[in-house]
């Protein structure tokens, strides 16, 4: 059974009032000073977020390459007439997302004010399919009491208190209010991405057999911090009654590992339709916000990302996920940019007798440079493309002076939110599918890296790659 990529979806959720619960803003706000007020003053309204050119590229209304023609700063050049819906994605507003969080909560963790209701006309069809009856609503006094006692965190909508999220155990760190909010945000945004995938691809929910979640949250309790299986929770919420699932954990490389596993399960005939889904990372909201505030820019890390991919048996029309060209980084290899990219890119291509320039496009970690550059964190995709091109030059596949041209034709500007696993090359798959269906592209390689050393169990880096080709 040849595994093919049937459909790809990218989603964003604008959550300005949750930025304060990102890891960095939460720590900054605990220090004396005016951080929280400064943060609030630099948050963007939904219209600006929807018209932001990288977001338009993310949901498919703009080709990533077109970003190079938009003057900097992109946040100062909103796309005229931009829609929050695109050919393979959409941007949700905060009110609708709070309704999805309420639906995601099966344990009375979220308590919204009885007077609050989601916006009447903001929700898309995919979001509406997920929204249920309102959950347990708490009296205003009860919400205030819980926040006051420290067992719950306040939830705001456009600055007004609308409810709270509470811990589910006094001593269990894994069930602390902020951890549970992170987990529910990943579940709800993941379920939204999956639901949108089902609708865009006309895939009946009951035909999904297996879900691989590549979301970053671990889910657990005090005895088991990374117990997992958010996949099954997402599948249940998205209404896939026949789907089992499992989580793939590999830092930011998880989405590509998940695609490799999904393709292998389909190729082996274990399942017919596998779905890879990644919900958003609340902890990464506002990661560079202190720098954005310092530079008097909008706080750009105000969106959760979501991705979903349908991997199924050959339908005669969709591009193939070529497992023979899947790349991995064995533990005996150097954890340098060179060592990682040689293992992920050069070696699988060499095995098949191909050169680096034989692949039309490389989708590396596609972090939006407008988020990272002001924070001194560099242009991540550009650095990775430079390394790839330098490798091609070192191997004698291109001349040294051809490096800039190689980067231009085989790379692209970054357009993904800095949500860890979300930028891991995979947001390009929607664009690649469209180009391959239009006959303008033959092959794309997705290359993801993972910074395992951040978890302190090894000094190693990691990565995974896979080729999609028509």
């Amino acid at each position: 059974m040849v595994p093919v990529l049937r459909a790809a979806v990218n989603t964003l959720v604008h959550v300005p009032d949750l930025v304060r619960y990102g890891s960095k803003p939460f720590r900054e706000a605990a220090q004396p000073g005016s951080f929280l007020a400064d943060l609030k003053a630099r948050l963007r309204p939904f219209g600006e977020v929807a018209a932001y050119p990288p977001h338009q590229a993310f949901i498919g209304n703009l080709k990533p390459e077109a970003l190079a023609d938009i003057p900097s700063p992109w946040h100062g050049h909103p796309l005229p007439g931009a829609s929050h819906q695109g050919p393979f994605g959409e941007i949700l507003d905060q009110g609708t997302f709070y309704s999805l969080l309420e639906k995601a909560d099966q344990f009375g963790l979220l308590m919204l004010d009885p007077g609050w209701s989601p916006p009447a006309n903001g929700a898309s069809a995919a979001a509406r399919a997920l929204m249920g009856a309102a959950g347990k609503r708490g009296a205003r006094e009860e919400i205030l009491k819980r926040i006051e006692s420290g067992e719950a965190l306040p939830l705001e909508d456009r600055g007004a208190l609308i409810g709270c999220v509470r811990r589910d155990h006094e001593e269990d760190e894994s069930l602390a209010a902020r951890v549970l909010l992170e987990n529910m945000a990943a579940k709800a945004s993941g379920a939204h991405a999956l639901r949108l995938l089902l609708e865009k691809a006309h895939l009946p929910a009951r035909e999904v057999d297996y879900i691989l979640s590549c979301s970053e949250e671990a889910i657990g309790d005090r005895y088991n911090r990374g117990g997992g299986n958010l996949a099954k929770a997402i599948g249940e919420m998205a209404g896939c009654p026949n789907a089992a699932g499992v989580d793939i954990k590999a830092f930011c490389a998880a989405p590509v590992y998940a695609l490799v596993h999904a393709a292998a399960l389909v190729q082996a005939g274990v399942v017919r339709n596998a779905v890879v889904v990644g919900g958003g990372s609340l902890a990464k909201l506002g990661m560079k916000s202190h720098r954005h505030i310092e530079k008097q820019m909008p706080v750009l890390e105000d969106v959760l990302g979501g991705v979903a991919f349908w991997v199924g048996p050959d339908d005669g029309a969709s591009p193939r996920l070529n497992l023979e060209l899947a790349g991995r980084h064995p533990s005996g290899r150097p954890s340098t940019p060179q060592g990682v990219l040689e293992a992920l890119v050069c070696e699988p291509l060499a095995r098949a007798g191909r050169k680096l320039r034989d692949i039309d496009k490389y989708a590396v970690e596609l972090h939006n440079p407008e988020v990272t550059l002001p924070a001194g964190a560099g242009d991540v995709p550009l650095t990775n493309y430079r390394t790839l091109a330098a490798l091609a030059a070192m191997r004698g596949e291109i001349a040294r002076e051809e490096i800039p041209a190689f980067i231009r034709s085989h790379g692209m500007p970054g357009f993904a939110p800095t949500q860890g696993h979300i930028p891991a090359g995979v947001p390009y798959l929607g664009h690649a599918l469209a180009a391959m269906r239009a006959g303008t592209m033959k092959s794309a390689m997705v290359v993801a890296k993972g910074s395992l050393f951040l978890g302190r169990m090894t000094q190693q880096a990691d990565g995974a790659s896979i080729v999609v080709e028509s």
Partner: protein, 107 residues
């Protein structure tokens, strides 16, 4: 620079003494300036434990000529050299040269 790193560097200075320590960097672009300033004139963002602390440590980048020529050539060629084509060596050298000029002026 990461606040935990700043704490560690401060502790290392206390433990080993400024005159015995050298800082060597491996990052790119603006990150080089931020790291180098942090260990010389203090945290430029004024957020970490090195805010306002002028350690004045000698700081180099591994791709600077005066550093790479002191390293074993085979090891450098195997694990570092490719990055000369990736990182902006000219910008890195300028950043550090300017920093050293400013340090000398402050004397």
């Amino acid at each position: 620079m990461d606040l935990d790193n700043q704490t560690t560097i401060k502790q290392l200075v206390d433990a080993h003494g400024m005159e015995n320590l050298v800082v060597v960097l491996g990052m790119n672009g603006e990150g080089v300036r931020i790291a180098a300033e942090t260990v010389t004139s203090g945290d430029p963002s004024w957020a970490g434990p090195l805010a306002g602390v002028s350690l004045g440590l000698p700081v180099y980048h591994i791709l600077e000529e005066q550093v790479r020529t002191k390293l074993p050539a085979d090891l450098y060629a195997e694990k570092v050299q490719l990055m000369e084509m990736v990182l902006d060596v000219g910008q890195i050298e300028n950043t550090l040269a300017e920093l050293r000029r400013n340090q000398a002026k402050r004397g």
